[in-house]
């Protein structure tokens, strides 16, 4: 299908974008990579929106490391995550996650900020930033910069803590430390599909943060399984504890029981096999 009529404006600076959001009625859509947004427009899931195109804002690009924090500009494309030495060295989970996102021709446009602001519960990057205990940096004309912990940013299905007048400008991620590990695993029917279930883990090698995706309305922190590991429990015990963490819905991709089963399998594989992303 074709989109309904669209209002469009090209933001010429961050200040201009924030002005447009501040003066808007809250119904504006920020156009970053557009890989979910334009599909939604074509399907007319969003009718007659006003788009603020931020692709010209160079100040939202780039990956830099300062002390023990990697700052990733919101407009960083997935292919740039894949190519970045800084990411490979300091946040290996993002290097590993980026090729799992859709296909080559989508990774050239899709952005980390767009993926996180869109908050698709089956997407890889929201789960990664929660596992990493990352900070989401938002900016608005009225309030300047506001920082939100990733775990508090995702509120539900395509719903986040971003206010209508705010623009997501960057992600701040702690660098991997000695004794820590990071890994992402997912099960897909075909390469590039959204995951039936996935697991992002990051943190201390014996007791990392475990965040599942594709099994809830938002990234799911598996607190019970994490507590088992933190208390010295076995991998099998942690997998059993997932029963108290996950409550997926039946859908066309599989039953709730099936998704829980593959979540347990992913957890066991990730904890017993994936040691290659430990920090040196």
């Amino acid at each position: 299908m074709k989109p309904s009529p669209i209002g469009y404006v090209r933001a010429t600076s961050l200040a201009h974008a924030l002005d447009l959001l501040a003066e808007g009625d809250g119904e504006e859509k920020v156009l970053a990579g557009g890989q979910s947004l334009v599909a939604s427009l074509n399907l007319r899931l969003i009718e007659s929106p006003n788009l603020i195109d931020i692709n010209g804002l160079d100040e939202l690009r780039g990956i830099g490391v300062e002390g023990d924090v990697v700052r990733i500009g919101a407009l960083t494309r997935h292919c740039e995550l894949m190519a970045s030495d800084v990411v490979a060295r300091h946040v290996p989970i993002l290097r590993e996650a980026a090729p799992l996102i859709a296909h080559a021709a989508i990774r050239t446009r899709g952005t980390i900020g767009g993926s996180i602001a869109n908050a698709d519960p089956a997407a890889e990057l929201p789960a990664c930033v929660v596992a990493l205990d990352a900070t989401i940096v938002l900016a608005s004309k009225a309030g300047g910069e506001r920082r939100v912990k990733a775990a508090e940013f995702f509120l539900g299905l395509f719903e986040t803590d971003r206010r209508d007048d705010e623009l997501l400008i960057a992600i701040e991620v702690p660098t991997i430390k000695p004794g820590e590990r990071q890994s992402i695993r997912e099960l897909v029917r075909r390469s590039g599909d959204y995951a039936l279930a996935g697991l992002a883990l990051a943190g201390p090698a014996d007791a990392p943060r475990l965040v599942f995706f594709g099994v809830g309305d938002a990234p799911v922190v598996a607190g019970n399984a994490m507590a088992v590991l933190a208390g010295g429990g076995s991998i099998d015990e942690a997998a059993l504890a997932l029963e108290g963490d996950l409550d997926p819905a039946d859908d066309i991709n599989g039953s709730a029981g099936y998704k829980k089963h593959i979540s347990r399998v992913l957890l066991k594989r990730a904890l017993s096999v994936d040691r290659q992303f430990e920090a040196a």
Binding site: M1, K2, P3, S4, P5, I6, G7, Y8, V9, R10, L20, E23, G24, D25, L31, G34, Q35, V38, A39, L41, N42, L43, N50, L51, D53, N55, C79, A102, H103, A104, A105, I106, T108, R109, R190, S191, G192
Partner: protein, 173 residues
Amino acid sequence: MTAPFSQSVEISLKVNGERVRRMVDARRHLIDFLRLDLGLTGSHAGCEQGVCGACTVRVDGTIVRGCLTLAAQLDGADVWTVEGVTETGEIADLQDEFVARNALQCGYCTPGMLLTAAELLNADAAPARAHIREHISGNYCRCTGYEAIVDAIEATTARRCGMPVPALKEAAE
């Protein structure tokens, strides 16, 4: 509609090396712009939701989904379609292999498949078949079963890297 937003946008860009300046509807995606406004019907609109890959074209040196890119976003861009890369001869060897190895039947996916495959052609080393399959995983072909497409890409990349080129498969008796 509030003042700063407009429903039509002026863009100036290069398409297949030629300068193009147009007013476009803000809702016009790149494939409709190419096909309906410029008459470049080589690029195909398939699913229009980013899944099938028939609309794959090259923008600023990398492949993109034409259906997920608004023409309005492309002011200053450098766009190449199958018409352009055919004319320059850049992928003539790939196209010859597609024909020789029956890597197309109805041809609907072919322009997108060629642009996607072209990204692999300039690599230093010939990619493994698994890597070729992964790279074209975003391009649906409902005719060939992909085997012949992978053969054609493998043969082209091998030839460009100076590696032995797999023999043509004989037709079954």
